[in-house]
């Protein structure tokens, strides 16, 4: 007997119920999602209503049962109870999230601010804003960074606040900051709560995020408190000159670190019996072309007695700072240093030519920080045709050498021949045997005055300051030492940086580890499984 397909009213009613309710649901969701009644939503809702109406018409008993019977009640109760439960759990979660309860479990304390950072934050007296730019694609990075930034906010008792901006949604603000996706900036905050755009400073986030941020904050705080003055009255190198012979990069580096750079007119001060400004943390005389007069020397001396810092970069040819010039006499008498009329020659050339003098002997000091050619060759200094500096063994104040040439070098004193024929050779008795001081320092603990003298100034120029990098380190270190900037902004490396432990095992141990974890452990498990399987079969 053939089975006939019988479609009963109840089947139709059920179908209508599914279609109707389904359509209503989709329509409702669509409405919520889009926020308005699009034509699709309308169609879905109409189908839904028609479906439900059919359902009621075809199988009224079932509909009533569904809506009011025990099944319905139980079902509705179950759904509501689940929603309620989810709501309670959700609220509890939000509550705990607000409370910010965290525990840093890493050994190196990756998520805990060091004592150093906390010290800096505790001394905060101004509001600082951390502005981070994160697009939707970088939500995870934002969360990771936020772990730190949250700590800053807490430790600074709210003086530091965080703000996150989507550079895609708000490109105007991003442009104002010159920000790219993922960049972080800090700045001061205006009284009305907005960012003080003048103080915006980029935070380079490398790996040690805490260190980067704390350093940036320190620099921000230091901004404006340190001013260095570049004298331009003697034809010195020009901070505004962006050619390979200018020192624009040096100047920008100083500015990036929060230094104020200003021009100085020593000649005029000398003529008018004026003073070097009180806010000058350091004075830079980079390759003067004309001699420093005694009047200028007086101005400088007066400044140094007030606890100032002087950086003199001399150079070849000797057009100024001659060995017997008034300034050199002053330098020798008061500070135990003199720039000699010699050119340092490395017979066994360490640089491209024997006249390119590479730092051979380096004394440990703030001025030579990070300069370690044995560890990193690029951190050496290299001076092209440099004069040497005599250091008084029995000085009136504390002095010394920072960087010297090698013992195989000598100081060529016959500068005329050198100028004419580029000839040099060690003349016993006339020339000075190495090692020769290339960078010398002197400091007067009573007055607080400090002086650094370098026999070369090419290393400061845009063309040479970056190659090698040691030149840049030296230039910044000198200013840092002179101004004692490093004192207030230094950041002692926490345990971990420098002595990051790496893993080392010999091949025999490695083999054993592989054997144990890849053969023994899984193997034993597999055997146990087989054993169980056999036992099972037997029974």
């Amino acid at each position: 007997m053939r089975d006939e397909l019988v479609i009963t009213r109840s089947n139709l009613g059920q179908l209508a119920s599914f279609v109707g309710v389904g359509a209503l649901l989709m329509g409702g969701l669509g409405w919520l999602w889009a926020g308005w009644l699009s034509s699709y939503v309308q169609i879905a809702l109409v189908i839904g209503i028609v479906g439900v109406a059919l359902w009621v018409a075809l199988t009224p008993r079932e509909f009533i049962d569904f809506v009011s019977g025990r099944r319905a009640r139980q079902g509705t109760v179950a759904v509501f109870s689940v929603l309620l439960f989810v709501g309670i759990v959700g609220m509890f979660y939000i509550f705990v999230e607000r409370a910010v309860i965290t525990l840093d479990m890493t050994e190196a304390g990756d998520f805990t601010l060091s004592a150093e950072s906390r010290r800096v934050l505790a001394s905060l007296d101004r509001d600082i804003r951390i502005t981070g730019f994160y697009s939707p694609a970088r939500v995870a990075t934002r969360e990771l960074d936020d772990q730190f930034f949250r700590q800053y906010e807490i430790e600074s008792n709210g003086r530091i606040t965080r703000e996150y901006i989507d550079p895609v949604r708000q490109p105007a603000i991003a442009t104002a900051f010159r920000a790219q996706d993922g960049d972080v900036f800090i700045s001061f905050v205006n009284p009305d709560g907005t960012v003080d755009m003048n103080s915006v400073s980029y935070v380079p986030m490398i790996d040690r995020q805490e260190r980067d941020m704390t350093l940036a904050i320190s620099r921000l705080l230091a901004t404006g408190t340190f001013s260095v003055y570049f004298d331009l009255s003697l034809g010195e190198l020009d901070p505004g000159d962006m050619s390979s012979r200018g020192i624009s990069i040096f100047t920008q580096l100083l500015q990036a670190n929060g230094f104020n750079t200003q021009p100085l007119d020593l000649a005029q001060l000398a003529a008018t019996n004026g003073q070097i400004p009180m806010d000058a943390s350091a004075v830079i005389i980079a390759r003067p072309q004309t001699e420093i007069t005694p009047a200028m020397v007086r101005v400088l001396d007066d400044y140094l007695r007030r606890g100032g810092g002087l950086f003199l970069a001399a150079d070849y040819p000797v057009t100024a700072i001659a060995e017997d010039s008034p300034f050199n006499d002053y330098l020798w008498n008061d500070w135990g240093m003199r720039v000699l009329d010699t050119v340092v020659v490395e017979e066994i050339a360490t640089g491209p030519t024997p006249l390119d003098v590479v730092s051979a002997i380096i004394y440990d000091s703030d001025i030579s920080a990070s300069i370690d050619p044995e560890f990193d060759l690029d951190s050496r200094t290299q001076f092209r045709i440099t004069r040497s500096i005599a250091i008084d063994d029995d000085p009136p104040v504390f002095n010394g050498s920072v960087i010297m040439s090698s013992p195989d070098s000598f100081g060529e004193t016959d500068l005329d021949t050198l100028a004419r024929t580029n000839d040099f050779g060690y003349d016993d008795g006339a020339d000075i045997p190495g090692p020769l001081t290339l960078v010398g320092f002197s400091s007067n603990p009573e007055t607080g005055g400090r002086v650094v003298v370098v026999g070369d100034s090419d290393f400061l120029t845009d063309g040479q300051i970056g190659s090698p990098s040691g030149n840049a380190y030296l230039s910044m270190n000198i200013i840092g030492w002179l101004t004692e900037y490093t004192q207030s902004v230094s950041f002692a490396p926490t345990a971990g940086v420098g002595n990051v432990p790496f893993i080392f095992v010999d091949t025999a141990t490695l083999d054993r580890i592989v054997f144990g974890t890849l053969i023994v452990l899984p193997g034993v498990t597999l055997l146990l499984g087989l054993g169980v399987w056999f036992v099972r079969r037997r029974r």
Binding site: R70, R71, Q74, G75, A78, S81, V82, F85, V86, V89, F92, Y93, V96, E97, A99, I101, T102, L103, D104, M105, T106, E107, D110, F111, Y134, S135, P136, A137, R138, V139, A140, R142, E143, L144, Q147, D166, V168, R169, V500, P501, F502, I503, F504, V505, L510, I513, V514, G516, T517, L518, L521, P522, T525, L526, L528, G529, L530, V532, W533, R536
Partner: protein, 246 residues
């Protein structure tokens, strides 16, 4: 809820895990794959950097998408198919006890597998006298993946309750877990940061990859995982209960 009811169910399910060759197969795969990850991490770190304490847990944050449903797929689906569910529901044991007992057995088994890898892998590193691993970081990562796994098992159990067919249960669970894992990448396609953040906060990865995996314990992440466990178990109990009035 009666503790003894939960315990009885728990005991039975645990004995099933230890008496079933399939469970050993799953354990075998677990050890093999995590072992590969572990050894690979050592190899790439050799003389260059410290080992990644969270190497295995980070892999597992993807791996449990497959492991968890495998452990849970039979728990309730089998009862329905073999009709032992009918008998269970006529025993003087609460529906909640049944669900909780099964869940705890799955979580226990998972904890066992996880614990073995922690002890063995970290133990080896500690045993080396040339190296000290960051145990705190590893511990944080493992606690995170332990809770993460618990949440995944809850999801798996929930789907096991909806069907008689183990394969369907496994498939539904894996799909859901995969979605919860992918949601982390929502930021790539969504236009608004708030929405991306919100979606991310709903995923399992969102509460693991930037906190536990980095060695940071955040209370709200633990609450999230516990919350997922609680909600899925709640729903599962309702589903089991519904057999009675359907």
């Amino acid at each position: 809820m009666s503790v003894s009811g939960i315990w009885i169910i728990f005991r039975r399910e645990i004995s099933q895990y230890f008496a079933s060759p399939v469970a050993y197969l799953i354990a075998f795969a677990f050890f093999l794959v995590t072992g590969l990850i572990y050894n690979n991490d050592i190899t790439v770190s050799l003389t260059v950097k410290p080992t990644d304490p969270a190497a295995v847990p980070i892999f597992l944050s993807f791996g449990v998408i497959f492991f968890a449903p495998l452990l849970t797929m039979r728990l309730l689906a089998e009862e329905q198919r073999e009709r032992t569910m009918e008998l269970l529901l006529t025993a003087p044991v609460r529906d909640g006890d049944i669900v909780l007992g099964k869940f705890l057995s799955a979580w226990f088994y998972y904890s066992l597998l996880l614990g073995v890898t922690f002890v063995v892998y970290q133990g080896i590193l500690i045993g080396l006298d040339t190296y000290t691993p960051d145990i705190g970081h590893a511990l944080a990562a493992y606690i995170g993946i332990w809770l993460y796994g618990g949440a995944a098992l809850g999801v798996g159990l929930m789907f096991s309750a909806t069907t008689e067919n183990q394969i369907v249960a496994a498939f539904l669970s894996m799909s859901t877990l995969l979605l919860l894992w992918l949601g982390d990448l929502a930021g790539q396609i969504v236009a608004s940061v708030e929405l991306a953040e919100f979606i991310r906060k709903l995923t399992l990865q969102g509460h693991f990859s930037t906190s536990f995996a980095s060695g940071l314990f955040r209370a709200e992440d633990a609450v999230f995982f516990a919350g997922i466990m609680a909600v899925t178990l709640f729903v599962t109990i309702r589903i089991v209960e519904s057999r009675r009035w359907r």
